[in-house]
């Protein structure tokens, strides 16, 4: 992960949008943090940029975190999304995880936990991507092999046909 990471934070509380990016900048060197004050604004950002991770609050006026999560899953299915929930909102947590969130962070946010969760999500995302790349490479290898096998199968037949005549 030598390239700079980019993270989008979505929350309707301007104070949190000041505090959290600063915490990430201090704890995750070289990370680029962008913020959006609403789900609608976040979707605009997502359209133009592929983030390494998205962090969104669950309770927001207008489109809430769960609806945003569903949108992200259709527009950027590979981008890991983390959900911020209030303390004890277990039902929402379960719904978020079922909706495809890769992790959840409870308020008040523990910065260490948050950074670790974010790293884990990004790492998992990168590993996933790597695995996919390898799978693609393997698939192309398999196809190549298949082609060679088919070619070899055709050649002996030609040889044997010549021998019989």
């Amino acid at each position: 992960m030598t390239t700079t990471l980019s993270v989008l934070i979505v929350d309707d509380d301007p104070a949190l949008l000041q505090a959290l990016p600063q915490a990430l900048r201090l704890r995750m060197g070289g990370v680029t943090v962008e913020t959006a004050e609403s789900a609608a604004a976040a979707l605009e950002r997502i359209a133009v940029q592929d983030y390494d991770a998205i962090v969104t609050d669950i309770k927001m006026p207008g489109m809430d975190g769960l609806a945003l999560l569903a949108e992200i899953r259709t527009r950027r299915p590979d981008t890991p999304t983390l959900i911020i929930t209030g303390h004890g909102e277990n039902e929402l947590v379960v719904r978020a995880l079922r909706g495809g969130a890769c992790d959840f962070i409870q308020k008040p946010i523990d910065r260490g936990y948050f950074v670790a969760a974010l790293y884990r999500a990004i790492w998992a995302h990168v590993q996933n991507r790597k695995a996919k790349d390898r799978q693609l490479a393997l698939e192309s290898c398999a196809e190549e092999l298949e082609r060679i096998v088919q070619k070899l199968e055709r050649e002996p037949r030609a040889v044997s046909g010549r021998a019989e005549s």
Partner: protein, 383 residues
């Protein structure tokens, strides 16, 4: 006599001397006879008189008999009438007797009633005392109910408030954490650290404000009456509800006018009125396509009118009167206590005001509050 005359004539023929005597004797005899005849004639005439008189008398008698018959008939009629009257009298007498008996019984009953009445009066006196005691008890209970309702409202508010408190707390943690990180990273520039701590301080005061407001609201303060600004009351109620309304995307319009209405009352109680009405409106618009609440206020001479309208589905016809009843709720079990509006009603009543609701079909409900303004001289001490 003829025989005697014949005999005398025979004798006269036989004896002429004797004939003279016989003649004399005969003459005397004739005279006697004539006398007698005359006498008899007189008698006959007298008899005829008497007969005439008798006939007259008889006629009179017949008349009298007829008259007598008339009299008798009259008498018979009278007698019959009398008999009937006697009969009637008799029945009247019997009726009178009955009436007398009844009246006696009535008197007895009246006496019994009088006695019962005395008992009842005694009971009534006891009941009145009991009533007064109960009334006092009721007043105490009412106060407890208001407090209970307040706590119930507080409970309902807690969820929203917890979210509201969690945010500044979370932000404080982050800002302070950032400051700690900056110090640990040995950042020499003080300004950056101070900025983080300054942000944290702002969040602390935000949290403090919420908590102190909740504390004032929940306190079981003695119900005092003082001049209070209605505008402030409405704004404070809104500040407690704002987060909940915002998260539900409920558009709130407040038009309090340019006046500063001051009423004589209890700020906490009146605040509860508006929190209750806002909570109600919040639930009423939950399923509505357009979610809006409008609070308007107009101050007249001596009174202020506040209206709180929502864009919900309104109140079903027939329930307008019942919604202020205690424990009446249309919400699901466990969602509403059914106390909010009855407490609201009680508080407004205690403030000498009225509260009513109008809900035209197809529109949301509008609650109308009418409160008397504080007398002018007390307004100076408001706030």
């Amino acid at each position: 006599m003829p025989e005697t005359a014949t005999q005398e004539r025979q004798a006269a023929v036989a004896d002429p001397g004797a004939a003279v005597t016989a003649e004399q004797r005969l003459r005397a005899h004739v005279e006697t006879l004539e006398r007698r005849l005359r006498k008899r004639d007189d008698q006959r005439r007298a008899m005829l008189h008497i007969m005439g008189d008798l006939s007259e008398f008889n006629k009179r008698l017949a008349n009298q008999r007829k008259a007598m018959l008339h009299v008798l008939a009259d008498y018979e009629q009278d007698r019959r009438r009398l008999a009937r009257q006697t009969e009637r009298l008799d029945s009247s007498r019997r009726a009178l007797l009955h009436i007398l008996q009844d009246s006696h019984q009535d008197k007895l009953r009246l006496e019994a009633s009088r006695k019962a009445m005395i008992h009842i009066m005694g009971d009534l006196r006891e009941t009145t005392a009991e009533m007064q005691r109960r009334e006092q008890e009721l007043r105490d209970k009412q106060e407890q109910l208001v407090q209970a309702g307040k706590l119930a409202t507080l409970g309902e508010l807690t969820t929203g408030v917890a979210h509201e408190l969690n945010n500044p707390l979370n932000n404080i943690g982050l800002f302070v954490g950032n400051a700690v990180d900056l110090i640990e990273l040995a950042v020499t520039e003080k300004g950056q650290i101070v900025r983080e701590l300054g942000h944290a301080m702002q969040q602390v005061s935000k949290a403090t404000e919420i908590i102190s407001h909740l504390r004032t609201f929940g306190r079981a303060a003695p119900v005092s009456r003082e001049p209070i600004s209605l505008r402030q009351v409405i704004e404070r109620a809104l500040s407690l509800m704002r987060e909940q309304l915002r998260l539900r995307e409920i558009e709130v319009t407040v038009d309090l006018g340019l006046e500063e209405p001051v009423v004589l009352g209890n700020a906490i109680q009146l605040e509860q009125v508006f929190i209750n009405l806002l909570t109600n409106a919040r639930d009423a618009v939950a399923e509505a396509p357009r979610k809006a609440i409008r609070i308007a206020c107009s101050t007249g001479s001596g009174a202020v009118d506040v209206s709180l309208a929502d864009s919900g589905h309104g109140i079903p016809p027939g329930l307008e009167r019942r919604i202020f009843d205690p424990f009446f709720t249309t919400k699901e079990v466990g969602k509403g206590t059914g106390l909010g509006l009855s407490i609201t009603y009680g508080i407004i009543n205690e403030h000498g005001g009225t509260i009513s609701v109008v809900s035209p079909p197809g529109e949301g409900a509008t609650f109308l509050i009418h409160l008397p303004l504080a007398p002018a001289e007390t307004e100076e001490t408001s706030r």
